[in-house]
């Protein structure tokens, strides 16, 4: 029987495996281009990283002062936040290396533990953080070489604590995000937090200036207990020759390292013992069988109604789509609220004549965002696309259902925007509302006509609830930009001309005429879609059914 390979030999094997995978990926031109793109990205990242490192070193050199915490501690905060947050953001956005795959081999727990730690140390964010910490240390040592005995162990403990906090947090995050539902929820939560921070920052700053947020001051002492503050205290102690401060800071960091090390080891033990985290293994609760009848939409063919219902269900379960629904009113609020709070002449921008254009501009902006989905209409169907091809329906019915669902969402968004504009500024007038709504069909129909064709010719499969790496084909981007630009540009010209001349009712009539022409184009393209699909269905299936 073969013995278990030593830890070093196992690590060597893993490196060799990764190397062979890289070499094999270069067999295709796609793989070669990917490597070039990654190399260029890594070079640019390294240049930026080195630049930031030099800046940190210079700042550390300039900031150092005995017993003064502020300067170096701020720099340590930067390193700490980057080290901890960057991997988390990357983990929510996409797939990470799964160490559980290694457990198929006879791997000792100690080796498994070290591989996990080393991976944390040598992943791009870990390497950058380590480089920055090194530059920071060099800057301080250049200022006063005699601090080395106090500085070196403190910063080494800071690095170890960071590494173990990061690995522990990551391993627990992996546990929490093990199910698809949790991942999607976390992705949505992250977006809400990012948007919320942007939204709240001006309000918090304004409140802080007015002294309305004293509770934030209470939080500051708690920050003293966090690793960057402890490391900052040890650094300041080293400069002042205060060994008690150095020892206190280092002990605090060691405690962090030990505590998070234990948490990390606990998670790894569970993984090592074969913990299964997928949905299928989760305890299943029985659910009552309720089968409701499908939607009844008067005047709509049953198959088209079924497609529309499916599309609406898909849209409302899709985080990026929901984000797009929330984004325009949110941006409108973000732009308008600070101006409205300013209470001065700036507010006239929102409440004055230009405010009358707010609703059509917001609808145009939201259409621009939503139309991207119309150019890759099968993106989220995945292998389900085969249903369209095996069911006794014509593709034009399917596309009509999809387009109707899309139009319903654009309509819903327009209604939301009307309310948002009314609350933040003033209600758009009747003529403005009518002209805006009359412009929508012409813009949408032209884009649907072209989008339906592009969806068949250049399909791309998108993963649900994921934003990272979801790009349509290059040709789709180009064509959609041209058509969206032309159709929205023409609508804007007609609208502005009508508004300036005070003849918005004429603009409304022009939009109705354009809408009729667009309908003619749309119907003509729709009639051809089944023939086009017959030619291109292999492309569609190959792209959407790939695993």
């Amino acid at each position: 029987m073969a013995g278990v390979a030593g830890a070093w030999a196992q690590a060597e094997l893993i490196v060799e495996l990764r190397w062979r995978l890289l070499l094999n990926s270069l067999r295709t031109s796609r793989g070669q281009l990917e490597l070039i793109a990654q190399t260029v990205g890594a070079l640019v990242g390294a240049l930026v990283g080195v630049g930031i490192g030099i800046w940190l070193g210079v700042m550390a050199y300039l900031f150092h002062q005995p017993r003064r915490l502020m300067g170096p501690t701020l720099l340590l905060w930067l390193i700490f936040l980057f080290w901890q947050l960057a991997p988390v953001v990357l983990a929510v956005g996409g797939a990470q290396f799964d160490f559980r795959g290694l457990l198929h081999f006879p791997l000792r727990f100690s080796t498994f533990w070290w591989l996990n730690v080393v991976y944390g140390l040598f992943d791009p964010t870990g390497l950058l953080a380590l480089l920055w910490l090194g530059c920071f240390a060099v800057g301080l040592l250049a200022a006063q070489p005699a601090v080395l005995p106090g500085l070196a162990p403190s910063l080494a403990l800071f690095a170890a604590a960071n590494l173990l906090i990061g690995r522990a947090a990551f391993s627990w995050l992996e546990r929490i995000l093990a199910t698809r539902r949790a991942r999607e929820l976390a992705g949505a939560l992250l977006l809400v937090v990012i948007l919320g921070i942007q939204f709240l920052t001006p309000l918090v700053v304004a409140g802080w200036k007015k002294g309305q947020l004293p509770f934030l001051v209470w939080l500051l002492p708690l920050a003293e207990l966090l690793p960057p503050q402890l490391a900052g205290r040890a650094v300041a102690g080293a400069f002042a020759g205060d060994w008690l401060a150095v020892g206190g800071g280092a002990a605090g960091l060691a405690a962090y390292g030990f505590g998070f090390g234990l948490l990390f080891t606990r998670r790894l033990r569970a993984l090592y013992r074969g913990e299964e985290l997928s949905e299928a293994a989760a305890p299943q609760t029985k659910e009552a069988l309720v089968v409701r009848e499908g939607w009844r939409l008067p005047g709509v063919a049953p198959a088209v109604a079924a497609v529309l219902e499916k599309e609406m269900r898909y849209a409302l379960r899709n985080n990026p789509m929901l984000l797009n629904l929330a984004m325009p009113p949110f941006i409108l609020a973000m732009l308008a609220l600070p101006v409205a709070l300013a209470e001065g002449k700036e507010a006239e921008f929102v409440f004055g004549w230009l405010g009358g254009l707010l609703f059509p501009a917001a609808v145009a902006y939201s259409s621009l965002i939503f139309l991207a989905f119309a150019y890759n209409t099968y993106a989220y169907d995945g292998p389900g696309v085969q249903v369209w091809l095996t069911a006794p329906v014509k593709m034009c019915e399917v596309l009509m259902g999809k387009n109707l669902a899309h139009a319903a969402l654009v309509g819903l968004e327009a209604a939301l925007l009307w309310v948002a504009v009314s609350v933040l500024s003033r209600s758009p007038g009747l003529l403005t509302t009518l002209a805006t709504l009359a412009a929508l069909p012409s813009v949408l129909l032209v884009n649907y006509a072209v989008g339906n064709l592009m969806s068949v010719y250049f399909p791309r499969r998108f993963e649900f609830g994921t934003m990272k790496g979801q790009r349509p084909a290059g040709m789709t981007i180009l064509v959609s930009m041209l058509v969206e630009g032309a159709s929205l540009g023409l609508a804007a010209l007609v609208f502005i001309a009508g508004a300036v001349a005070g003849l918005l009712w004429v603009a409304t009539l022009v939009f109705l005429l354009l809408g009729w022409l667009a309908w003619w184009l749309y119907a003509a393209v729709l009639a051809k879609c089944d023939d086009v699909l017959r030619e291109k269905k292999e492309t569609l299936l190959a792209e959407l059914c790939k695993t």
């Binding site: 029987m1 199910t179 698809r180 539902r181 949905e279 299928a280 299943q284 029985k286 659910e287 009552a288 069988l289 309720v290 089968v291 409701r292 009848e293 499908g294 009844r296 049953p302 198959a303 109604a305 079924a306 497609v307 219902e309 499916k310 269900r313 898909y314 379960r317 899709n318 989220y380 169907d381 995945g382 292998p383 389900g384 696309v385 085969q386 249903v387 091809l389 095996t390 069911a391 006794p392 329906v393 014509k394 649900f464 017959r534 269905k537 292999e538 299936l541 059914c545 695993t547």
Partner: protein, 268 residues
């Protein structure tokens, strides 16, 4: 009209330089349980995709229940059900939503679609996962749901591509019960599978495709008799004792070699 359930004439499909299916003349009678066999890459999936309208043939004709697939695709699709290898499921719907949707796509009214969906979910043992998204189903559950979706409109012919792959014994039992029930009611079933024991137990007739060509077609008993006669005539070959299994028939027809009898002395 009472022609065969499935009939192809010189059916061919080319992918660039590769001729995946070569002038296939296939005939499956109504009510037959037909197994379509072949080694990996022989052209089974390509054939089933062409028969179900998922792939355009390069040449040849397909008639399903006396209807020309190229001329009347929608009418043909109304008569058939399909469970392709890459299951055609909308994974962000729940099981009931998906069945309801597919039923309506096949022309069922809203009430009938909902009633049949509930009945099928009960039959397939999926009723207690009614609120779960399909994305969260196990592989076996997805196979059963795909089968339910394929038969919700009561098709006269059911096409299945590797229906038992990755399915446990319990799920396989449900699938087999469903297929036998359909056969008992006069439907035609066309399936591909690598599990020859299952094909032998379920199917009355088989077709064997090898390197894109149909090398044998008929009832299992007829094929067995043919191979046994050939083996008896060939004195160099040693006929295996007893009745030939489908696996042995298959290996004889496609010329597969049996496992090399090397020593592998290091194996425990």
């Amino acid at each position: 009209m009472n022609g065969p359930a499935i009939e192809t004439q010189s059916l061919s499909r080319r992918f660039g330089a590769l001729e995946a299916v070569k002038k296939l003349d296939l005939r499956v009678e109504r009510g037959q349980f037909f197994g379509f066999l072949g080694p990996n890459g022989a052209g089974k999936s390509t054939t089933i995709k062409m028969l179900t309208g998922l792939l355009e043939p390069t040449a040849g004709r397909i008639r399903i229940l006396d209807l020309d697939l190229a001329a009347e695709p929608v009418e043909v699709k109304r008569q058939i059900g399909v469970v392709p290898e890459g299951l055609m499921l909308f994974e962000r719907l729940t099981g009931p939503e998906h069945l309801n949707f597919v039923g309506r796509m096949y022309g069922l009214d809203r009430r009938t679609a909902a009633e049949r969906a509930a009945e099928l979910l009960e039959f397939m043992g999926l009723a207690d996962r009614a609120k779960t998204l399909i994305a969260d189903y196990s592989h076996g559950m997805k196979k059963k749901l795909a089968m339910a979706a394929a038969i919700i409109h009561g098709p006269k012919i059911l096409f299945l591509d590797e229906p038992f792959e990755g399915v446990d014994a319990i799920a396989a039992g449900t699938l087999k019960a469903t297929l036998n029930r359909m056969i008992a009611r006069g439907a035609t079933i066309f399936l591909t599978s690598h599990v020859l024991e299952i094909v032998e137990r379920l199917c009355s007739h088989v077709g064997i495709i090898h390197q894109g060509e149909l090398v044998a077609q008929g009832s299992i008993d007829a094929l067995r008799a043919g191979v046994e006669a050939q083996l008896a005539a060939n004195t160099a070959a040693q006929a295996p004792g007893g009745r030939l299994t489908l696996e042995q028939i298959f290996l004889e027809i496609v010329g597969g070699t049996r496992a090399a009898e090397q020593e592998l002395s290091w194996l425990a």
